[in-house]
Amino acid sequence: MIENKKNKTILNKFTNLKTWDLKWLISDHKLKAIKTNLNIQKNVIKALIYRELKTRISKVRFGVFGLFIQPLGVITVFLFIFSFLRGIRNDIDTALFLTVGVIFFTLFYEIAIRSLNSMQANEALFFYKPVKPIDTVIARTIVETCLYSIVLIIITAGIFFLKEIWTLDQVFIVTSSYLTLSLFSFNFGLLLMVAGHKYPIIKQIMPLLNRPLWFTSGIFFSINQIPPGIRGFFSWNPILQSIELARNGFTENYIIDPSIISYRYLIWISLFSTCISYWIYTRNEKFLLTR
Protein backbone atom coordinates (compact mmCIF):
# COMPACT_ATOMS: atom_id res chain seq x y z
CA MET A 1 0.00 0.00 0.00
CA ILE A 2 2.58 2.49 1.18
CA GLU A 3 4.91 1.65 -1.64
CA ASN A 4 2.10 2.15 -4.11
CA LYS A 5 1.48 5.60 -2.72
CA LYS A 6 5.13 6.42 -2.95
CA ASN A 7 5.17 5.36 -6.55
CA LYS A 8 2.19 7.55 -7.23
CA THR A 9 3.80 10.62 -5.74
CA ILE A 10 6.94 10.01 -7.74
CA LEU A 11 4.84 9.56 -10.83
CA ASN A 12 2.98 12.77 -10.07
CA LYS A 13 6.23 14.58 -9.70
CA PHE A 14 7.28 13.37 -13.10
CA THR A 15 4.06 14.32 -14.82
CA ASN A 16 4.11 17.72 -13.19
CA LEU A 17 7.69 18.23 -14.17
CA LYS A 18 6.80 19.14 -17.72
CA THR A 19 4.65 22.14 -16.91
CA TRP A 20 6.79 23.09 -13.97
CA ASP A 21 9.88 23.02 -16.14
CA LEU A 22 8.41 25.43 -18.69
CA LYS A 23 7.14 27.77 -16.02
CA TRP A 24 10.55 27.94 -14.54
CA LEU A 25 12.02 28.91 -17.88
CA ILE A 26 9.37 31.32 -19.06
CA SER A 27 6.27 32.77 -17.49
CA ASP A 28 2.87 31.54 -18.60
CA HIS A 29 1.55 34.72 -20.18
CA LYS A 30 4.80 35.26 -22.02
CA LEU A 31 4.51 31.78 -23.48
CA LYS A 32 0.96 32.59 -24.50
CA ALA A 33 2.08 35.83 -26.17
CA ILE A 34 4.78 33.99 -28.11
CA LYS A 35 2.22 31.41 -29.20
CA THR A 36 -0.25 34.01 -30.47
CA ASN A 37 2.54 35.91 -32.21
CA LEU A 38 3.68 32.76 -33.96
CA ASN A 39 0.10 32.03 -34.94
CA ILE A 40 -0.30 35.52 -36.42
CA GLN A 41 2.94 35.13 -38.34
CA LYS A 42 1.80 31.76 -39.65
CA ASN A 43 -1.42 33.28 -40.98
CA VAL A 44 0.43 36.21 -42.54
CA ILE A 45 2.89 33.89 -44.27
CA LYS A 46 0.05 31.71 -45.52
CA ALA A 47 -1.76 34.73 -46.97
CA LEU A 48 1.49 35.95 -48.54
CA ILE A 49 2.12 32.55 -50.12
CA TYR A 50 -1.31 32.56 -51.78
CA ARG A 51 -0.67 36.06 -53.04
CA GLU A 52 2.85 35.31 -54.21
CA LEU A 53 1.65 32.21 -56.07
CA LYS A 54 -1.02 34.24 -57.77
CA THR A 55 1.30 36.99 -58.99
CA ARG A 56 4.13 34.56 -59.72
CA ILE A 57 2.09 32.29 -61.90
CA SER A 58 -0.15 34.80 -63.61
CA LYS A 59 2.58 37.35 -64.24
CA VAL A 60 4.62 35.04 -66.40
CA ARG A 61 2.91 34.88 -69.72
CA PHE A 62 2.36 31.16 -70.05
CA GLY A 63 1.36 30.54 -66.46
CA VAL A 64 3.04 27.54 -64.89
CA PHE A 65 4.79 26.70 -68.16
CA GLY A 66 6.52 30.05 -68.06
CA LEU A 67 8.60 28.70 -65.19
CA PHE A 68 10.11 26.07 -67.50
CA ILE A 69 10.92 28.34 -70.41
CA GLN A 70 13.87 30.18 -68.90
CA PRO A 71 15.80 27.16 -67.50
CA LEU A 72 15.01 25.04 -70.55
CA GLY A 73 16.22 27.83 -72.82
CA VAL A 74 19.57 28.11 -71.03
CA ILE A 75 19.98 24.32 -70.95
CA THR A 76 19.30 24.02 -74.68
CA VAL A 77 21.73 26.78 -75.59
CA PHE A 78 24.53 25.19 -73.59
CA LEU A 79 23.76 21.70 -74.87
CA PHE A 80 24.11 23.13 -78.36
CA ILE A 81 27.43 24.81 -77.55
CA PHE A 82 28.75 21.74 -75.76
CA SER A 83 27.90 19.43 -78.62
CA PHE A 84 30.08 21.54 -80.91
CA LEU A 85 32.92 22.66 -78.71
CA ARG A 86 33.59 20.37 -75.85
CA GLY A 87 32.08 17.06 -76.61
CA ILE A 88 29.82 15.20 -74.26
CA ARG A 89 30.65 14.46 -70.65
CA ASN A 90 31.23 10.84 -69.76
CA ASP A 91 30.76 11.00 -65.99
CA ILE A 92 27.27 12.46 -65.92
CA ASP A 93 24.64 13.07 -68.56
CA THR A 94 25.29 16.55 -69.98
CA ALA A 95 21.66 17.62 -69.89
CA LEU A 96 21.35 16.54 -66.26
CA PHE A 97 24.62 18.29 -65.47
CA LEU A 98 23.25 21.56 -66.88
CA THR A 99 19.80 21.14 -65.37
CA VAL A 100 21.18 20.97 -61.84
CA GLY A 101 23.38 24.01 -62.41
CA VAL A 102 20.72 26.17 -64.01
CA ILE A 103 17.90 25.36 -61.62
CA PHE A 104 19.98 25.67 -58.46
CA PHE A 105 21.28 29.04 -59.58
CA THR A 106 17.81 30.23 -60.58
CA LEU A 107 16.54 29.24 -57.14
CA PHE A 108 19.24 31.35 -55.52
CA TYR A 109 18.58 34.24 -57.89
CA GLU A 110 14.81 34.26 -57.41
CA ILE A 111 15.04 34.17 -53.61
CA ALA A 112 18.13 36.22 -52.81
CA ILE A 113 18.66 38.73 -55.59
CA ARG A 114 14.99 39.54 -55.97
CA SER A 115 14.72 40.28 -52.24
CA LEU A 116 16.83 43.34 -52.91
CA ASN A 117 13.80 45.23 -54.14
CA SER A 118 11.22 43.53 -51.97
CA MET A 119 10.84 46.51 -49.63
CA GLN A 120 9.70 48.67 -52.53
CA ALA A 121 7.73 45.96 -54.27
CA ASN A 122 5.77 45.08 -51.14
CA GLU A 123 5.25 48.59 -49.81
CA ALA A 124 1.48 48.20 -49.94
CA LEU A 125 1.61 45.19 -47.63
CA PHE A 126 3.31 46.93 -44.76
CA PHE A 127 0.19 49.02 -44.31
CA TYR A 128 -1.12 46.15 -42.26
CA LYS A 129 0.66 45.92 -38.95
CA PRO A 130 0.89 42.11 -38.69
CA VAL A 131 2.91 41.97 -41.94
CA LYS A 132 6.64 42.23 -41.28
CA PRO A 133 9.36 42.46 -43.94
CA ILE A 134 10.82 39.07 -42.97
CA ASP A 135 7.47 37.42 -43.73
CA THR A 136 7.64 38.46 -47.37
CA VAL A 137 11.08 36.85 -47.71
CA ILE A 138 9.93 33.67 -45.93
CA ALA A 139 6.88 33.43 -48.20
CA ARG A 140 8.97 33.96 -51.30
CA THR A 141 11.50 31.35 -50.18
CA ILE A 142 8.77 28.77 -49.62
CA VAL A 143 7.07 29.51 -52.94
CA GLU A 144 10.26 29.51 -55.03
CA THR A 145 11.64 26.40 -53.32
CA CYS A 146 8.45 24.47 -54.06
CA LEU A 147 8.06 25.76 -57.62
CA TYR A 148 11.65 25.04 -58.63
CA SER A 149 11.68 21.64 -56.96
CA ILE A 150 8.74 20.77 -59.21
CA VAL A 151 10.60 22.17 -62.22
CA LEU A 152 13.69 20.16 -61.25
CA ILE A 153 11.72 16.94 -60.82
CA ILE A 154 9.86 17.33 -64.11
CA ILE A 155 12.92 18.23 -66.18
CA THR A 156 15.02 15.41 -64.70
CA ALA A 157 12.17 12.97 -65.23
CA GLY A 158 12.00 14.19 -68.83
CA ILE A 159 15.73 13.59 -69.30
CA PHE A 160 15.55 10.13 -67.71
CA PHE A 161 12.61 9.25 -69.92
CA LEU A 162 14.04 10.57 -73.19
CA LYS A 163 17.53 9.18 -72.72
CA GLU A 164 16.37 6.00 -71.04
CA ILE A 165 18.79 6.36 -68.14
CA TRP A 166 18.26 6.21 -64.43
CA THR A 167 20.94 7.83 -62.34
CA LEU A 168 19.68 8.75 -58.94
CA ASP A 169 22.19 7.35 -56.51
CA GLN A 170 21.62 9.45 -53.41
CA VAL A 171 18.27 11.18 -53.25
CA PHE A 172 19.10 12.45 -49.78
CA ILE A 173 22.17 14.37 -50.95
CA VAL A 174 20.27 15.97 -53.84
CA THR A 175 17.35 16.99 -51.64
CA SER A 176 19.39 18.23 -48.73
CA SER A 177 21.79 20.27 -50.84
CA TYR A 178 18.79 21.82 -52.58
CA LEU A 179 17.14 22.69 -49.28
CA THR A 180 20.36 23.96 -47.72
CA LEU A 181 20.91 26.21 -50.72
CA SER A 182 17.37 27.51 -50.29
CA LEU A 183 18.12 28.28 -46.62
CA PHE A 184 21.31 30.05 -47.60
CA SER A 185 19.45 32.03 -50.27
CA PHE A 186 16.87 33.08 -47.70
CA ASN A 187 19.58 34.40 -45.39
CA PHE A 188 21.35 36.15 -48.21
CA GLY A 189 18.07 37.66 -49.37
CA LEU A 190 17.26 38.90 -45.88
CA LEU A 191 20.67 40.55 -45.66
CA LEU A 192 20.30 42.10 -49.11
CA MET A 193 16.89 43.47 -48.22
CA VAL A 194 18.25 45.29 -45.16
CA ALA A 195 21.41 46.39 -46.95
CA GLY A 196 19.55 47.62 -50.03
CA HIS A 197 17.21 49.67 -47.88
CA LYS A 198 20.04 51.13 -45.85
CA TYR A 199 22.46 51.81 -48.69
CA PRO A 200 20.51 52.29 -51.93
CA ILE A 201 23.75 52.15 -53.93
CA ILE A 202 23.77 48.37 -53.42
CA LYS A 203 20.75 48.21 -55.70
CA GLN A 204 22.96 49.54 -58.48
CA ILE A 205 26.02 47.46 -57.66
CA MET A 206 24.28 44.10 -57.30
CA PRO A 207 23.24 43.75 -60.98
CA LEU A 208 26.90 44.24 -61.89
CA LEU A 209 27.98 41.43 -59.57
CA ASN A 210 25.25 39.19 -60.85
CA ARG A 211 27.00 38.19 -64.09
CA PRO A 212 30.34 37.26 -62.41
CA LEU A 213 28.39 35.23 -59.87
CA TRP A 214 26.65 33.39 -62.69
CA PHE A 215 29.98 32.60 -64.33
CA THR A 216 31.66 31.39 -61.15
CA SER A 217 28.90 29.22 -59.75
CA GLY A 218 29.75 26.14 -61.78
CA ILE A 219 26.58 26.16 -63.83
CA PHE A 220 28.25 25.02 -67.06
CA PHE A 221 31.52 23.65 -65.73
CA SER A 222 32.57 21.41 -62.89
CA ILE A 223 35.16 22.49 -60.38
CA ASN A 224 37.50 19.77 -61.65
CA GLN A 225 37.78 21.67 -64.94
CA ILE A 226 39.25 24.68 -63.16
CA PRO A 227 43.03 24.93 -62.75
CA PRO A 228 43.93 23.48 -59.30
CA GLY A 229 45.57 26.73 -58.20
CA ILE A 230 42.31 28.68 -58.08
CA ARG A 231 39.96 25.84 -57.16
CA GLY A 232 40.13 26.81 -53.51
CA PHE A 233 39.05 30.33 -54.34
CA PHE A 234 36.01 29.12 -56.30
CA SER A 235 35.04 26.67 -53.59
CA TRP A 236 34.04 29.44 -51.20
CA ASN A 237 30.86 29.87 -53.25
CA PRO A 238 27.99 28.00 -51.53
CA ILE A 239 26.01 27.88 -54.78
CA LEU A 240 28.83 26.01 -56.50
CA GLN A 241 29.15 23.72 -53.48
CA SER A 242 25.48 22.76 -53.55
CA ILE A 243 25.46 22.28 -57.33
CA GLU A 244 28.49 19.99 -57.23
CA LEU A 245 27.07 18.03 -54.30
CA ALA A 246 23.75 17.53 -56.07
CA ARG A 247 25.49 16.30 -59.25
CA ASN A 248 27.40 13.84 -57.14
CA GLY A 249 24.12 12.84 -55.54
CA PHE A 250 22.63 12.08 -58.92
CA THR A 251 25.47 9.80 -59.96
CA GLU A 252 28.52 8.66 -58.08
CA ASN A 253 30.45 8.60 -61.35
CA TYR A 254 30.60 12.34 -60.99
CA ILE A 255 33.57 12.55 -58.67
CA ILE A 256 34.00 15.39 -56.22
CA ASP A 257 37.08 16.09 -54.16
CA PRO A 258 36.01 15.95 -50.49
CA SER A 259 38.75 18.40 -49.54
CA ILE A 260 37.18 21.06 -51.76
CA ILE A 261 33.49 20.22 -51.93
CA SER A 262 31.92 19.21 -48.66
CA TYR A 263 28.40 19.14 -47.34
CA ARG A 264 29.68 20.14 -43.95
CA TYR A 265 30.89 23.48 -45.33
CA LEU A 266 27.51 24.12 -46.94
CA ILE A 267 25.66 23.38 -43.70
CA TRP A 268 28.00 25.50 -41.63
CA ILE A 269 27.85 28.52 -43.90
CA SER A 270 24.05 28.27 -44.01
CA LEU A 271 23.73 28.11 -40.24
CA PHE A 272 26.30 30.85 -39.77
CA SER A 273 24.50 33.12 -42.23
CA THR A 274 21.21 32.35 -40.47
CA CYS A 275 22.57 33.77 -37.23
CA ILE A 276 24.13 36.81 -38.88
CA SER A 277 21.17 37.70 -41.07
CA TYR A 278 18.61 37.19 -38.31
CA TRP A 279 20.66 39.32 -35.94
CA ILE A 280 21.03 42.11 -38.47
CA TYR A 281 17.38 41.90 -39.45
CA THR A 282 16.02 42.12 -35.90
CA ARG A 283 18.23 45.10 -35.23
CA ASN A 284 16.91 46.86 -38.32
CA GLU A 285 13.25 45.83 -38.48
CA LYS A 286 12.03 49.15 -37.14
CA PHE A 287 14.33 51.01 -39.49
CA LEU A 288 12.94 49.09 -42.47
CA LEU A 289 9.40 50.14 -41.59
CA THR A 290 10.20 53.76 -40.78
CA ARG A 291 9.83 56.12 -43.66
Binding site: N39, K42, N43, V44, K46, A47, L48, Y50, R51, K54, T55, K59, E123, A124, L125, F126, F127, Y128, K129, P130, V131, K286, L289, T290, R291
Partner: protein, 221 residues
Protein backbone atom coordinates in the same frame (compact mmCIF):
# COMPACT_ATOMS: atom_id res chain seq x y z
CA UNK B 1 -7.56 54.92 -25.41
CA UNK B 2 -4.57 56.41 -27.11
CA UNK B 3 -1.99 58.41 -25.23
CA UNK B 4 0.71 60.14 -27.23
CA UNK B 5 3.63 61.72 -25.46
CA UNK B 6 6.09 64.10 -27.04
CA UNK B 7 6.48 62.46 -30.41
CA UNK B 8 8.69 64.03 -33.04
CA UNK B 9 8.94 62.98 -36.62
CA UNK B 10 11.00 64.22 -39.50
CA UNK B 11 11.77 63.04 -42.99
CA UNK B 12 14.98 63.26 -44.93
CA UNK B 13 14.21 64.31 -48.47
CA UNK B 14 17.28 64.44 -50.69
CA UNK B 15 19.46 64.89 -47.64
CA UNK B 16 17.42 67.76 -46.26
CA UNK B 17 15.61 67.33 -43.00
CA UNK B 18 12.03 68.44 -42.89
CA UNK B 19 10.21 68.32 -39.60
CA UNK B 20 6.66 67.04 -39.53
CA UNK B 21 5.97 67.16 -35.77
CA UNK B 22 7.93 68.47 -32.88
CA UNK B 23 7.09 67.25 -29.35
CA UNK B 24 3.45 66.59 -29.99
CA UNK B 25 1.36 65.24 -27.11
CA UNK B 26 -2.32 64.44 -26.89
CA UNK B 27 -4.78 61.99 -25.48
CA UNK B 28 -7.83 60.39 -27.01
CA UNK B 29 -10.17 58.72 -24.56
CA UNK B 30 -12.58 55.93 -25.22
CA UNK B 31 -15.78 57.05 -26.86
CA UNK B 32 -14.29 60.10 -28.52
CA UNK B 33 -14.39 60.86 -32.19
CA UNK B 34 -11.68 63.13 -33.49
CA UNK B 35 -11.55 65.18 -36.66
CA UNK B 36 -8.07 65.97 -37.96
CA UNK B 37 -7.80 69.25 -39.80
CA UNK B 38 -4.81 70.72 -41.54
CA UNK B 39 -3.35 71.79 -44.82
CA UNK B 40 -2.08 69.28 -47.37
CA UNK B 41 1.27 68.06 -46.20
CA UNK B 42 0.78 69.08 -42.59
CA UNK B 43 1.31 65.49 -41.46
CA UNK B 44 -2.22 64.16 -41.04
CA UNK B 45 -1.56 60.95 -42.90
CA UNK B 46 1.79 60.50 -41.17
CA UNK B 47 0.09 60.86 -37.80
CA UNK B 48 -2.46 58.22 -38.74
CA UNK B 49 0.29 55.89 -39.91
CA UNK B 50 2.15 56.30 -36.64
CA UNK B 51 -1.03 55.67 -34.64
CA UNK B 52 -1.71 52.61 -36.77
CA UNK B 53 1.72 51.25 -35.92
CA UNK B 54 3.01 51.05 -39.48
CA UNK B 55 5.46 53.92 -39.10
CA UNK B 56 7.55 54.98 -36.14
CA UNK B 57 8.27 58.39 -34.62
CA UNK B 58 11.87 59.54 -34.15
CA UNK B 59 11.27 60.01 -30.43
CA UNK B 60 8.45 59.95 -27.91
CA UNK B 61 6.08 57.25 -26.83
CA UNK B 62 2.62 56.03 -27.76
CA UNK B 63 0.42 53.99 -25.44
CA UNK B 64 -2.53 52.22 -26.96
CA UNK B 65 -5.23 49.97 -25.62
CA UNK B 66 -7.66 48.07 -27.78
CA UNK B 67 -7.38 47.22 -31.43
CA UNK B 68 -6.61 49.88 -34.00
CA UNK B 69 -7.37 49.61 -37.70
CA UNK B 70 -4.82 50.15 -40.42
CA UNK B 71 -4.84 53.71 -41.78
CA UNK B 72 -7.69 53.51 -44.26
CA UNK B 73 -6.77 55.76 -47.16
CA UNK B 74 -6.81 56.08 -50.90
CA UNK B 75 -3.06 55.59 -51.14
CA UNK B 76 -1.32 52.44 -50.01
CA UNK B 77 -2.58 49.18 -48.68
CA UNK B 78 -3.63 47.79 -52.04
CA UNK B 79 -1.47 46.13 -54.67
CA UNK B 80 -2.23 47.71 -58.04
CA UNK B 81 -1.66 44.63 -60.14
CA UNK B 82 -4.10 42.52 -58.11
CA UNK B 83 -7.86 42.80 -58.24
CA UNK B 84 -9.96 44.10 -55.37
CA UNK B 85 -11.07 40.55 -54.63
CA UNK B 86 -7.49 39.33 -54.30
CA UNK B 87 -6.48 42.31 -52.19
CA UNK B 88 -9.49 41.93 -49.92
CA UNK B 89 -8.90 38.19 -49.60
CA UNK B 90 -5.31 38.82 -48.60
CA UNK B 91 -6.23 41.26 -45.83
CA UNK B 92 -9.07 39.05 -44.62
CA UNK B 93 -6.76 36.06 -44.38
CA UNK B 94 -4.47 38.03 -42.10
CA UNK B 95 -7.18 39.33 -39.83
CA UNK B 96 -9.42 36.25 -39.73
CA UNK B 97 -6.92 33.81 -38.20
CA UNK B 98 -7.11 31.49 -41.17
CA UNK B 99 -10.81 30.83 -40.83
CA UNK B 100 -11.95 30.18 -44.39
CA UNK B 101 -15.68 30.74 -44.03
CA UNK B 102 -15.06 34.03 -42.24
CA UNK B 103 -12.72 35.13 -45.03
CA UNK B 104 -15.37 34.39 -47.63
CA UNK B 105 -17.96 36.29 -45.61
CA UNK B 106 -15.72 39.36 -45.44
CA UNK B 107 -15.01 39.29 -49.18
CA UNK B 108 -18.71 39.03 -49.90
CA UNK B 109 -19.42 41.93 -47.54
CA UNK B 110 -16.89 44.17 -49.28
CA UNK B 111 -18.16 43.19 -52.72
CA UNK B 112 -21.70 44.12 -51.75
CA UNK B 113 -20.63 47.30 -49.99
CA UNK B 114 -18.46 48.53 -52.86
CA UNK B 115 -21.04 47.93 -55.60
CA UNK B 116 -18.52 48.22 -58.42
CA UNK B 117 -19.80 45.23 -60.39
CA UNK B 118 -17.36 43.35 -62.56
CA UNK B 119 -14.55 45.77 -61.70
CA UNK B 120 -14.21 43.88 -58.44
CA UNK B 121 -12.23 41.27 -60.38
CA UNK B 122 -10.11 43.70 -62.40
CA UNK B 123 -6.70 45.07 -61.42
CA UNK B 124 -6.90 47.71 -58.73
CA UNK B 125 -4.80 50.18 -60.71
CA UNK B 126 -7.53 50.49 -63.34
CA UNK B 127 -10.01 51.87 -60.79
CA UNK B 128 -11.19 55.45 -60.54
CA UNK B 129 -10.73 57.35 -57.28
CA UNK B 130 -14.35 56.81 -56.35
CA UNK B 131 -14.12 53.07 -56.90
CA UNK B 132 -10.97 52.89 -54.82
CA UNK B 133 -12.70 54.74 -52.02
CA UNK B 134 -15.60 52.28 -52.15
CA UNK B 135 -13.34 49.24 -51.86
CA UNK B 136 -10.90 50.55 -49.26
CA UNK B 137 -13.66 51.93 -47.06
CA UNK B 138 -15.74 48.79 -47.48
CA UNK B 139 -12.81 46.66 -46.42
CA UNK B 140 -12.28 48.61 -43.22
CA UNK B 141 -15.97 48.38 -42.40
CA UNK B 142 -15.84 44.60 -42.73
CA UNK B 143 -13.79 44.32 -39.53
CA UNK B 144 -14.47 45.38 -35.97
CA UNK B 145 -11.86 47.59 -34.40
CA UNK B 146 -11.94 49.66 -31.25
CA UNK B 147 -10.48 52.60 -33.14
CA UNK B 148 -10.70 53.34 -36.85
CA UNK B 149 -8.20 55.56 -38.61
CA UNK B 150 -9.80 57.03 -41.70
CA UNK B 151 -7.94 59.21 -44.15
CA UNK B 152 -10.04 61.22 -46.60
CA UNK B 153 -11.79 58.18 -48.00
CA UNK B 154 -15.20 59.54 -47.16
CA UNK B 155 -14.51 62.69 -49.14
CA UNK B 156 -14.20 60.79 -52.41
CA UNK B 157 -17.14 59.16 -54.07
CA UNK B 158 -20.62 60.18 -55.09
CA UNK B 159 -23.68 61.09 -53.00
CA UNK B 160 -24.86 57.52 -52.90
CA UNK B 161 -21.55 56.30 -51.49
CA UNK B 162 -21.31 59.15 -49.01
CA UNK B 163 -24.75 58.38 -47.62
CA UNK B 164 -23.88 54.72 -47.41
CA UNK B 165 -20.56 55.33 -45.69
CA UNK B 166 -22.17 57.73 -43.27
CA UNK B 167 -24.70 55.11 -42.32
CA UNK B 168 -21.98 52.52 -41.85
CA UNK B 169 -19.93 54.91 -39.74
CA UNK B 170 -22.88 55.77 -37.50
CA UNK B 171 -23.52 52.10 -36.93
CA UNK B 172 -19.89 51.44 -36.01
CA UNK B 173 -19.78 54.50 -33.83
CA UNK B 174 -21.83 52.83 -31.16
CA UNK B 175 -18.93 50.61 -30.15
CA UNK B 176 -15.87 52.17 -31.77
CA UNK B 177 -13.95 55.41 -31.92
CA UNK B 178 -12.90 57.24 -35.03
CA UNK B 179 -10.05 59.46 -36.01
CA UNK B 180 -11.06 61.04 -39.29
CA UNK B 181 -9.13 63.24 -41.67
CA UNK B 182 -11.42 65.24 -43.84
CA UNK B 183 -11.38 68.27 -46.02
CA UNK B 184 -15.03 68.37 -46.92
CA UNK B 185 -16.17 68.80 -43.33
CA UNK B 186 -17.86 65.47 -43.41
CA UNK B 187 -17.25 65.27 -39.67
CA UNK B 188 -19.59 68.19 -39.14
CA UNK B 189 -22.52 65.97 -40.00
CA UNK B 190 -20.95 63.23 -37.96
CA UNK B 191 -20.65 65.07 -34.65
CA UNK B 192 -17.02 64.76 -33.62
CA UNK B 193 -16.20 65.36 -29.95
CA UNK B 194 -12.81 66.79 -30.65
CA UNK B 195 -10.90 68.45 -33.42
CA UNK B 196 -7.15 68.67 -33.90
CA UNK B 197 -5.62 71.29 -36.15
CA UNK B 198 -2.17 70.37 -37.41
CA UNK B 199 -0.06 73.35 -38.24
CA UNK B 200 3.70 73.86 -38.39
CA UNK B 201 4.57 70.71 -36.49
CA UNK B 202 2.19 71.45 -33.63
CA UNK B 203 -1.25 70.20 -32.74
CA UNK B 204 -3.99 72.45 -31.40
CA UNK B 205 -6.81 70.74 -29.60
CA UNK B 206 -10.41 71.94 -29.68
CA UNK B 207 -13.38 70.46 -27.89
CA UNK B 208 -15.85 72.01 -30.28
CA UNK B 209 -15.64 71.11 -33.93
CA UNK B 210 -17.48 74.18 -35.19
CA UNK B 211 -15.14 76.46 -33.33
CA UNK B 212 -12.18 74.55 -34.74
CA UNK B 213 -13.48 74.89 -38.28
CA UNK B 214 -13.93 78.62 -37.81
CA UNK B 215 -10.34 78.96 -36.62
CA UNK B 216 -9.13 76.62 -39.34
CA UNK B 217 -10.79 78.74 -42.01
CA UNK B 218 -9.40 81.92 -40.55
CA UNK B 219 -5.94 80.42 -40.46
CA UNK B 220 -5.78 79.24 -44.01
CA UNK B 221 -8.05 81.45 -46.04
Amino acid sequence: MIKVEKISKSYYIEGKKSIIFRDVSFEINKGETVALLGRNGSGKSTLLRILGGVDYPDSGSIKKSGSISWPVGLIGGFQGSLSARENVTFVSRIYCEGNKSRVNKKVKFVEEFAEIGEYFDKPFKTYSTGMRARVTFGLSMAFDFDTYLIDEVTAAGDVNFRNKSKKALLEKKRNSDFIIVDHNMFGLEFDCNKAFILDNGKIREYDDLEEAIKIYKRLFD
